[in-house]
Subunit: 192 residues, 2 copies
């Protein structure tokens, strides 16, 4: 029991109290549930790995996006984390593929370009497989720095590099916009 509590405490956001509560819950749950959780934890490490093309987390290689015949394989959206793909898929409006960096540049935290997974992206671009790269890193300081770095790294004749729009969120009110967002919304205005 104390071994389980110790292991659970290693999870982020789980302290001694929570670990104890979780451990007792597992103890009280039926055999199948406990076995299911145990197997799921083992399998996630054993079966999931990164897609060799786009670095997305996947159980098949290449991943579902990279191997899809209905997707535009020449349009690549660069995101920081695998979870960002879900946000973009939710829109049901994007039909290209992805590239996951697994991080963003942050010199203060010691994250340099060498810590981002960029080599297979430049390889794809150098072999002429890509028409446009949409840089969809977050509009934070780190995300913007990463976007600038990537655009310099991958700019080639014939390859368009674009950045998603920063602006007022849909359904929101101009009154709630902060200065930076409002500035970017005016700078990024488009002809009607």
């Amino acid at each position: 029991m104390s071994r389980l509590i110790e292991e659970l405490k290693k999870l982020p956001g789980v302290g001694s109290k929570s670990a104890q509560r979780l451990a007792f819950h597992i103890l009280r749950s039926d055999e199948a549930d406990a076995q299911g959780l145990s197997d799921a934890i083992r399998d996630v490490k054993a079966k999931l790995h990164l897609c060799s093309i786009c670095n997305n987390i996947t159980d098949v290689d290449p991943c579902v996006y990279c191997s899809s015949a209905t997707r535009n394989q020449r349009l690549v959206c660069v995101v920081e984390e695998p979870t960002n793909i879900a946000s973009i898929e939710k829109t049901r409006n994007y039909s290209g593929v992805y590239h996951v960096l697994h991080g963003s540049l942050s010199p203060l935290h010691g994250v340099g370009p060498e810590h981002l997974r960029l080599s297979n992206l430049t390889r794809r671009i150098d072999s002429g497989e890509v028409d446009e790269v949409i840089v969809a890193t977050n509009p934070t300081v780190e995300g913007e720095a990463t976007a600038v770095y990537i655009s310099r790294l991958i700019k080639r004749p014939g390859v368009k590099v674009t950045r998603i729009a920063t602006g007022i969120p849909a359904g929101s009110d101009i009154e709630y916009a902060d200065e930076v967002t409002m500035t970017k919304a005016i700078e990024g205005r488009r002809e009607l």
Copy 2:
């Protein structure tokens, strides 16, 4: 006393209890404060009116923006309410002038184009005083409908009509973006 309470109750968000509390506060406050409030209320109606050029609330006509020599009088930003001007001024990056609609199209609430203050905008454009109109109505259903209506109304050769960007707010995370905002952020991407 009961007349004051009745008058205060007419204010938005002020019920019987609040009106009573406000009335007793005024009763207890010193002569100068009460006189100051009374004068301020009278003056706001007597001295403030709409700018004849841009419909902004002002005590001089034309307003400070419309009479400014340092502002670009040929760049007009269309907003729904006078308060929106403050949001845009906060950015310290906009040097054009404004046009206040005092509302947005909302057929469900019976607000049609005839309820918006548009006549002095079209007059300004027809007399060739404007190079670009930035439509900065809110990115809501009503604001977008108003933007489309205005762009059709004022489009002339030589007059650029633009719309502020809808997208992820600066400093935010893609994970928190709703579907519509994410879609607009991708649609509105710009070359890096």
